[in-house]
């Protein structure tokens, strides 16, 4: 059983590298869809069945569709003009590698020494079915659940307000409407 976790974990890492290193944004989006599917596989392997399905429905099915839609709507699919890998990004890569080494070091220290919380590893895995998640969500987590509803409402209203085109005079020559008028004239 752990072998499949290792294999899928390695694939997830490869797809994440594809997200970061792709030259065209659409390729990054497709690598991210693959990464999200692999993370859903990890959720299923960890016993969170409902969460795996929600991940595919919400993340890969709604958020990524939204991102690809906006990418294609704006035509932002060209690669970046300057090369993505220069001296500042090399320094950033070194800093991120140090961060990762620090986390790895902390993990190995923690696994050998007695942990602060004294949690025994590999307790009985929790039931990840819809009933178990619903049981907790609607009893112990009811107030955050309602707040999330209000948050989603605020996000939808905010998105509409942000995109709404005001009837204000743009400076001449800038903005999409000016570009369109220039094309038609």
């Amino acid at each position: 059983m752990p072998v499949s976790s290792y294999i899928f974990g390695f694939l997830t890492m490869l797809c994440a590298i594809g997200v970061v290193a792709s030259r065209r944004p659409l390729n990054s989006a497709l690598w991210l869809v693959t990464t999200l599917f692999l993370v859903a596989v990890h959720f299923a392997l960890l016993g969170a069945g409902f969460l795996a399905l929600v991940q595919i429905l919400v993340y890969a099915g709604a958020i990524m569709v939204l991102i690809i839609f906006v990418l294609m709507l704006l035509g932002a699919d060209q690669g970046e003009r300057e090369t993505a890998f220069s001296l500042p990004s090399g320094l950033v890569a070194i800093v991120c590698a140090c961060f990762l080494l620090l986390i790895g070091f902390a993990l190995y220290q923690g696994s050998s020494a007695p942990s602060l919380l004294s949690v025994p590893p590999q307790m009985s895995p929790p039931d990840g079915s819809v009933e178990a998640v619903g049981q907790a969500l609607f009893t112990r987590f009811l107030f955050p659940f309602q707040i999330i509803g209000v948050l989603l409402l605020a996000a939808v209203i905010g998105a509409v307000v942000l995109v709404h085109e005001h009837k204000r005079p743009l400076p001449p020559g800038r903005g999409l409407r000016a570009m369109r008028e220039k094309e038609h004239s």
């Binding site: 974990g9 994440a16 990464t35 991102i67 989603l152």
Partner: protein, 100 residues
């Protein structure tokens, strides 16, 4: 390497890759995608640690993180559209003023 340590390490690697992308890439939408990658790394870590504690709480937190990530993606893409409408460009070397 036991399973818990593997999943914590995998979450750390994914998070670092996402952070590398956010700090390095210039296209605004790619930056948003790397933020989603970081959020997924956190979700994976939450589920792994929640399994270690034997409660369903880790999965509930992931549920809320996913809802917040969806809201953030919607608002972030609305900002991207508004920025593109005013500056007609999406790269960080072109969109560096708050003008427009």
């Amino acid at each position: 390497m036991d399973l818990q340590t593997f999943y914590l390490l995998l979450g750390a690697v994914l998070f670092t890759l996402g952070a590398l992308g956010v700090l390095t890439r210039r296209n605004l939408i790619v930056v948003l995608m790397c933020i989603e990658l970081m959020l997924n790394a956190v979700n994976l870590t939450l589920v792994a640690v929640g399994r270690q504690f034997g409660t369903i709480d880790g999965q509930i937190y992931v549920f809320f993180v996913m809802a917040v990530a969806a809201a953030e993606a919607a608002v972030g893409l609305a900002i991207v559209i508004a920025v593109f409408r005013d500056h007609y460009a999406l790269e960080s070397q072109d969109v560096y003023t708050l003008q427009g």
